[in-house]
Structure formats: structure tokens, C-alpha cells
């Protein structure tokens, strides 16, 4: 590979990362924010978001793309927190309790999600996205109508005045930052939520370890070639379901960590954007639909949130409107996802064309080709 080609591959692979670094660097001076403030914000947001983003890794390994269905786990976590608040369980004990409640729910939802995705192979992403909306309907039904009527809610202060259904905004005062505050390190003027980071580190260790297990190996095999894996006797569908279940459970825990840091819960739409932010972050970090690493997660959260911190103020200063910065960062968030998906799809097609080209030449084409042409488009078959 020539040096120039290497350079161009590097740029096309890390295009998103490079664009992001540049935009953020440009926006820092006009925002008027001090570097120290930005760093502290990034530390806080790393603790708040990393866990959620890490939940995306396994489905990518298993070849199921970006798991937009992780929102299901987030909903399970929220149900857990609602119960924790209802029973008045506070502090980190409340978080553990919420996790224990959310766990079986997220396993069940993950299983359902896996089943659905197995029925829509090749369309996992859009299916996960719609499934999240669908389950959202059921979540709304459960929280708005079941809680307080079918399932008694002891704590009347979280129930709507009509007697059932949970209030729009839930004050999580009893568990607010209880994980972060177990040990809050103060180093050089920065506050670092030590325990939160330890939990995140443990998850990273788990992911690394998991990749070394048989199941992890099977997941990689399934992710690369389902047909070959199936022929080798690996239970493909089961493996895919397990990947989604683990992702959903991690998303459940991640949402609990996220919300304890935020300190309150928008009961009916806190989960709306969970998948979007996580996916945008991992893509900004240089991951693609098929490749992702732990490094992508942390790089992505750092970059995405650095921009999120900076852009509204920069927009205010540059255009005289905070809304412009606000819209700009959303434009960038959605745009990043769109561009990454486009680049990925485009690259896959190019690779397929190149592979075809390499068939010609000295050796024979492989296979007892049945002459099924790979031309034209598969459309949305």
C-alpha cells in the first residue's frame, strides 16, 4: 500500500473523529469557557455516559450493528428507579435495588428484542429503532396506567393527583449522585467520582475478559459470517439473542448510573434519546457498524460531550442565539450517525466490488457458481 493510499484510508476511517476535533477546537475560544471548566464537565459526563455507551459493544461484535434497541434496557432501569423511589430506598442501596428490579425486566425485554431481530436479519438497526418505539408504548401504558392502579404505589407523592400513573418528573433526590459521592476524589480542583469510574473500569475488564471466552469467540464468528458459524455448529440465533440480552442489561445499569447523576427522571421521555446519544458517541469515537473498541467509547464520549458543552455558548457568541448552538449540536449528532452509516454502507459495497474484481486473473473463480448475479441492488427485499 502506498503512503498516499495509507494516508487516505486513515482519513476516511477517522474522518468523523478528525472533523469533530476540529469543530470543537474552533468552538472553544468563542464559547468563552475555561479549559478547566470544560475538563470538569467532560469528567462528569464520562462518568455519566460511558457505561451506556459500553453497552453497545457486544451487539457490534455479534454483527448486529448499532443496538438502537438498548432503549429497552433504559426503560427497565427507569422502572427500577421508580420502585426504588416508591419504597423510599435511598442512597447507593436504592441504586442496587433499582438494578435488581430492572434486571429481570431487561433480560426479558432483551430476549424479545433478540427474537425480533432474528426475524429481521440484515435490518437489525431500523428494527431495533422501531422496536424501541413500540416498547415505549407499552412502557407508557405500564407507568401511566398500571402503576398506582393495578400495582399499588405506597408513595403518594410520586403518583399523579388522579390517583394512578407516575408524575411527569420524578425527583430522585434520595439517590441523587449517591454512586458518585461514595468517594469523590478532589485532585487539582477537579472532582472525580471514583466509584463510578471503578464500576466503568470493571465493565471494561468484563468486556475484555468476555472476548476471551467461548461465547465471545462465537459472537465474533457469528458477526463475521452467520452461514459459516451455523455450519460449524455454533447456535447462531441463540448467540445473537445473548448478545442483545447482555446489551440490554448493561443499558439498564447504564441508565441507572446516568439518572443518579442527573438527579431527576423525566418519567415519560428520559429514555427517548438514550440510544441516540450512545450511538452518536461511539461513532464519533471512530467506531463503525462492524468495528468498535473500548477506546472508541471513551474517545467518543469525550469528543461528543466536549462539543455539547461548548456549542450552545459558542452559538450564542457567534450568532447571537443560543438556539443556533443548540440546533447545531443536534444537527451534528444526527449528521454523524448519518455520515457514519453512509460511509459504512458505501465502503461495504466498494469492498464487495473489489472482491469481485480480484476473482478475475490467474485463478479460477471459487465455487460451483449457480450464476446468481450479484448485480443490481438487493433493494429492501
Amino acid at each position: 500500500m502506498s503512503a498516499r493510499k495509507k494516508l487516505s484510508t486513515f482519513f476516511s476511517r477517522y474522518a468523523v473523529v478528525i472533523i469533530f476535533v476540529i469543530i470543537t477546537l474552533i468552538a472553544i475560544p468563542p464559547s468563552g469557557l475555561s479549559i478547566k471548566y470544560i475538563l470538569q464537565e467532560i469528567i462528569t459526563r464520562l462518568g455519566r455516559n460511558s457505561f451506556l455507551v459500553l453497552a453497545l459493544l457486544l451487539p457490534i461484535y455479534a454483527g448486529m450493528g448499532l443496538n438502537f434497541g438498548m432503549t429497552l434496557g433504559a426503560m427497565a432501569g427507569q422502572v427500577g428507579l421508580i420502585f426504588a423511589v416508591n419504597y423510599g430506598i435511598s442512597n447507593w442501596q436504592g441504586l442496587v435495588f433499582a438494578l435488581l428490579v430492572g434486571l429481570p425486566i431487561s433480560v426479558l425485554l432483551g430476549y424479545v428484542c433478540g427474537l425480533v431481530m432474528n426475524r429481521a436479519k440484515g435490518r437489525e438497526m431500523v428494527t431495533g429503532y422501531i422496536l424501541a418505539f413500540f416498547i415505549n408504548g407499552i412502557y407508557q401504558f405500564f407507568v401511566m396506567y398500571m402503576l398506582g392502579s393495578v400495582i399499588p404505589m405506597g408513595n403518594k407523592s410520586i403518583v399523579l393527583s388522579r390517583g394512578y400513573g407516575i408524575r411527569n418528573t420524578l425527583n430522585l433526590e434520595s439517590v441523587r449522585q449517591s454512586l458518585d459521592n461514595i468517594v469523590m476524589l478532589r485532585v487539582g480542583g477537579f472532582s472525580i467520582p471514583l466509584v463510578t469510574f471503578i464500576v466503568i473500569a470493571l465493565l471494561c475488564v468484563f468486556v475484555v475478559w468476555f472476548k476471551k471466552t467461548k461465547l465471545g469467540q462465537d459472537m465474533r464468528a457469528v458477526g463475521q459470517d452467520m452461514a459459516v458459524a451455523e455450519a460449524a455448529g455454533i447456535p447462531v440465533e441463540k448467540t445473537r439473542i445473548v448478545a442483545i440480552i447482555i446489551s440490554t442489561v448493561l443499558a439498564c445499569a447504564g441508565q441507572i448510573i446516568f439518572l443518579q447523576n442527573m438527579g431527576n427522571l423525566a418519567t415519560y421521555n428520559a429514555h427517548d434519546q438514550t440510544g441516540f446519544f450512545a450511538v452518536a458517541a461511539i461513532l464519533v469515537g471512530g467506531a463503525s457498524v462492524t468495528h468498535a473498541s473500548i477506546a472508541n467509547v471513551f474517545l467518543g464520549v469525550t469528543l461528543l460531550h466536549a462539543m455539547f458543552v461548548v456549542s450552545p455558548l459558542a452559538g450564542q457568541k457567534l450568532f447571537g442565539s443560543a438556539m443556533i448552538g443548540e440546533y447545531f449540536r443536534q444537527f451534528i449528532g444526527y449528521g454523524v450517525i448519518a455520515i457514519s452509516l453512509v460511509l459504512y454502507a458505501w465502503r461495504t459495497r466498494k469492498a464487495a466490488a473489489e472482491a469481485r474484481l480480484s476473482l478475475r486473473g490467474a485463478q479460477n473463480g471459487p465455487g460451483k457458481g449457480n450464476g446468481k448475479p450479484a448485480v443490481g441492488n438487493g433493494g429492501q427485499a
Binding site: 467461548k214 459459516v228 473463480g365 471459487p366 457458481g369 446468481k372
Partner: protein, 532 residues
């Protein structure tokens, strides 16, 4: 060579698919350390035999088979390929079954990795065991060592040369401790000459270690080079089972394709053609699995020109490339005018038509009516079957389409409930007729027909061939017919070209001796055949 008792015995195996007999009372034995060369044309029953041997679900789904299979003297019944693997059978398929992003090691031990139980096994099951990479590597190296080739255990499959992939596949079967019988289906098809040579050495080496090998190949010289015994399948019969002694390639070739003389039905009367209509020079086509490398030929006006050859050799690539369906290059001239390649619309507009071998994939709009299927190309290419309304919009002329369709339904005797019936509801033979009708409807000067009888029953086959024959005679349409069935080509073609490895191996009259065809297909003795 055959020492000891037989390791694998196939006894009186017969199999039919819904009355269509594919295997008829096939028996042979395989002994320890023996290499058995299994040869036969496409459709001779090799694949079905392997399916039976491996307990493929498709066999059970279609009613099982008669006869028995014994391994080491005891009868076995496999309900899935995994049973066969457990019983000591190993198979290397023509298509690679490797994970591209895995290393040689990971592929060799795929799903049989060495593992150490972890504490989580008791909670979440065995798959939580941790892989022992060093053990896996050792095993891979051992298997590679047995092959006697130089393979890097840490190389990614996606970065390997093709030959190494093939060896990785074999190493995977060798790593299975119980593997005693190894079946290779066209293992040299994708290899370069030197790689193929190395593979043959490896197989001999494995045989000397006591592994029995069934070697399926169309390259007869390879079979002659390594087989201890040769079994020839033809039309489901094991026509020959002979030790590899004093056999020539020509012998095998004639056993493979030979039919008793009386059997081969009518031959086209010899016709003379003066004028050349169609010229192909140095055509290459980039069609996966059917690559065409360098093909040149001429077709005379009014002739039926046959193109034969074994599957995967590139015969299908020729019409697909000329009609612009796959990237192609070279020079193609029709009636003095150069045909632009890679542009189906132009090719069609110049008066060529194509009946694809992939009937359901390319040939038909399965979800649309027969009217659509037959008239569509004519609408798009020649703007026919359209009418203007308000003098502005051109609309489909449903009436004209129906008339057209009805005409062909009658002409070709297409069995359907109405011209509005959906194409997917017809039988294979009738679908094929629809495809032909679609091509006829644009009144072509030159028509390519690819595998016109694939997958349809005997009666329909005859009808389709008769249709082509009559169309050629009545309208003078020049036809280029591509088929894997030599007999079919010989029955209606005026000349037959045989394609081998992406090149024309030779062009023969239909009356040529059957062994000549066999030799051409086996990629041997090109000059010998050309003289014939």
C-alpha cells in the same frame, strides 16, 4: 493398495426426488489409506451422494433414500451433518467455509476451541469458558504439520492466498481427532497449478497415515495422478469401479459422458452456413463463479450454436457478459456493428435477447402477471404496447399486452389459469416458456438461451427444446444456447463449443465422438481435440 477391511461401504444406495431418479443402486467401498477418485458429469449424482453421506436434512425432507451406509462395518443413520462429523467423516467443500476475520488457528479449531472452565460456567453455562489460545495454536500447528505445508497459524484468512484457505479447510478436518474419512469436492478448482500440486502431495501424505480420501474432481489428470481406485458416476449409476491401473484419461472421459449409441436421440441434420452474424473476440467477463477469461468465437446467421462445459468454468459468463449483466470487456460485433458492453439496454436494442439461467432471480417478475413478464422488455426496449391518452401520457396498453400474452400462451402451450396469473404460481417448465416468450416478444436477431432446461421435468424439457428448434427453423432466429447437458446440446445444435477454465477448449460438431467432448471438459489435450 487397498489394505484391510473396508472403512466405508456404500451399499445399493438409490435416491429419487419426487420420482426423478438421481442415484440408482450405487455401491462401492472405501478402505483405510485409500484415495478414491469419484468422477462424473454435472448431474451425475455426486452431490446427492455426498448429501446422503453427510445426512443433510434435504435428503430426509425429500423422503430419505434406499440402501445403506456402513462405517467400519456397522450401519449408520445420520440425521444431521454433525452426526457425520462425529462418526469420523470430514468434508472440504468447494466453497470456503471460513471466517474471514479469524486467524488460521481460530478457523482450524472453530467451534472446537480448547477451553478452561471459568467460575461463571456454573451460572451461565459452558460457553463462559475461557479460550486457551496457546493450546489452540499448538493444535493448529499439529494439524498443519500433518499436512506438511507452510501455513502461518496467526495469519488472518482474509489476507491469505486462496491456496492457504484450502489448506486451512483441510487442516480443520484433520484437527478433528476422529476424522478417518476425508471427502474433497473439487478441491483444486480454485488453486493455481503449483498449489494444486502441493495439495495432491498433501493428500498422498494423509492417505499414507491411514486416512481414507474421496477425491471429487473434473480434472482427470489429477484423479489419475493420485487415486488408487476410480469410480465413475453417470446418470445416477456407478458405471465403473476400477483400480487405477492402465487407464487413460480418454477412457475415463468416455465412461463419464458415454451413452449407449442408440440412446442419443435425434441429431440436427447437418446444415451449411455461409454468413457470419456474430463475432466475439477476447471477451472477459467478471461474473462470480463463472469467470470468463479470454473467449473468441463466431456464430453464423441462422445457426444454433451450443456452448457447453462443466459448471463454474465460465460458460454462463459468456451470455451474461455480452448482455451487459456483469462487467465485461473485449470485442463483440453483431451484424457488422460493435456491441457496447456493460449496457443491457443497448444490447437489447441491437436485436439481441437473453433467456437467463437464473429464471426466478433474473428471468421473471415473480409477483407480477404473465402479461407483464412477457411484454415488459418489449415495452422498455422498443416502446411497444403503449398507447397515448389525452395525447399526453403514454400508458400501458393492457389490451395489447393481453393479446400478446394470449398469443404466446397458445403458441408455447403455457399452462396457466389466465394471462393475469402471477408468474410465481406457474411450474418450472411453464416459467421457462414465459421467459422464452419474453425473449421472442422482442423479435430478436440473435437469442441467447442459458440453461433452458435446468430444473424442469423431462416432458417440459422436450417442449422447450422443440420450441427453440422450431423458432430457429421458422423465423431464422440465430440462437446461442448454453447448457451443462451435453446431450441436449448435441440434439439441437449445429456446432458446440466447450468452455474450460474461462476459455474455449474447442468447437466440435454434434456428431463428434462423445469422448472428445469429455476430454475437452476435463481440460486436457486441447490440441488433440481441436484436430478432431
Amino acid at each position: 493398495m487397498a489394505n484391510g477391511s473396508s472403512l466405508l461401504s456404500i451399499e445399493h444406495v438409490s435416491k429419487d426426488f419426487y420420482g426423478n431418479v438421481v442415484l440408482h443402486d450405487v455401491s462401492f467401498d472405501l478402505h483405510e489409506g485409500e484415495i478414491l477418485g469419484l468422477v462424473g458429469e454435472n448431474g451425475a449424482g455426486k452431490t446427492t451422494l455426498m448429501h446422503i453421506l453427510f445426512g443433510m436434512p434435504v435428503i430426509m425432507e425429500t423422503g430419505g433414500f434406499q440402501g445403506s451406509i456402513k462405517i467400519g462395518g456397522t450401519e449408520v443413520h445420520f440425521s444431521s451433518p454433525f452426526d457425520a462429523l462425529d462418526a469420523g467423516l470430514g468434508m472440504v467443500h468447494q466453497e470456503f467455509s471460513l471466517i474471514p476475520g479469524f486467524t488460521t488457528t481460530e478457523n482450524i479449531v472453530l467451534n472446537r476451541e480448547s477451553m478452561r472452565a471459568s467460575i461463571l460456567n456454573d451460572v451461565f453455562g459452558d460457553r463462559m469458558s475461557v479460550l486457551q489460545r496457546d493450546r489452540m495454536r499448538e493444535r493448529a500447528q499439529k494439524a498443519i504439520g500433518k499436512l506438511g505445508v507452510d501455513l502461518n497459524p496467526d495469519m488472518l484468512v482474509s489476507e491469505m492466498p486462496v491456496g492457504h484457505k484450502q489448506f486451512t479447510e483441510i487442516a480443520r478436518e484433520i484437527d478433528r481427532e476422529q476424522t478417518r474419512i476425508l471427502i474433497l469436492d473439487e478441491p483444486t478448482a480454485v488453486l493455481t497449478e503449483s498449489e494444486a500440486e502441493m495439495l495432491l502431495q498433501t493428500l498422498k501424505r494423509l492417505a499414507s497415515e491411514g486416512i481414507a480420501i474421496i477425491f471429487i474432481s473434473h480434472r482427470l489428470q489429477e484423479v489419475l495422478a493420485i487415486a488408487n481406485r476410480i469410480v465413475v458416476l453417470r446418470d445416477g449409476h456407478a458405471v465403473k469401479d476400477t483400480p487405477n491401473e492402465n487407464i487413460s484419461m480418454r477412457d475415463i472421459a468416455s465412461w463419464m459422458v458415454g451413452r449407449s449409441l442408440g440412446e442419443s436421440g435425434q441429431r440436427s441434420e447437418a446444415r451449411g452456413f455461409a454468413e457470419s452474424l456474430f463475432k466475439v473476440r477476447h471477451l472477459w467477463v467478471d461474473m462470480p463463479g463463472e469467470t470468463v477469461r479470454d473467449v473468441s468465437f463466431d456464430v453464423h446467421r441462422g445457426e444454433i450454436f451450443g456452448i457447453g462445459g462443466l459448471a463454474g468454468q465460465g460458460k454462463l459468463g459468456i451470455p451474461n457478459g455480452i448482455m451487459g449483466l456483469f462487467p465485461a470487456g473485449g470485442e463483440v460485433v453483431l451484424d457488422g456493428k460493435t456491441v457496447p458492453l456493460n449496457d443491457p439496454a443497448k444490447a437489447l436494442a441491437m436485436g439481441m435477447a437473453f433467456v437467463s439461467e437464473d429464471r426466478r432471480g433474473v428471468g421473471l417478475l415473480l409477483d407480477e402477471s404473465l402479461e407483464w413478464n412477457i411484454a415488459f422488455t418489449a415495452i422498455q426496449v422498443h416502446g411497444q404496447y403503449l398507447k397515448k391518452i389525452f395525447g399526453l401520457f403514454s400508458q400501458r396498453d393492457e389490451k395489447a399486452m393481453e393479446d400478446l400474452c394470449a398469443e404466446y400462451v397458445k403458441l408455447l402451450d403455457i399452462k396457466c389459469t389466465s394471462t393475469k396469473q402471477k408468474a410465481k404460481e406457474l411450474s418450472g417448465g411453464n416459467q421457462q416458456k414465459v421467459c422464452l416468450a419474453k425473449a421472442f416478444a422482442i423479435k430478436p436477431q440473435l437469442m441467447f438461451v442459458s440453461e433452458p432446461t435446468r430444473g424442469i421435468d423431462v416432458g417440459a424439457k422436450k417442449l422447450v427444446l422443440d420450441t427453440l428448434h422450431h423458432y430457429n427453423r421458422d423465423f431464422g432466429t440465430t440462437i446461442v444456447m448454453v447448457s451443462s447437458e451435453l446431450e441436449e446440446l448435441r440434439s439441437i445444435c449445429d456446432r458446440i463449443a466447450i468452455v474450460d477454465e474461462g476459455r474455449i477448449a474447442g468447437i466440435l460438431p454434434p456428431t463428434a465422438d462423445i469422448s472428445e467432448f469429455g476430454l475437452l471438459m476435463s481440460g486436457a489435450a486441447m490440441e488433440e481435440a481441436v484436430n478432431a
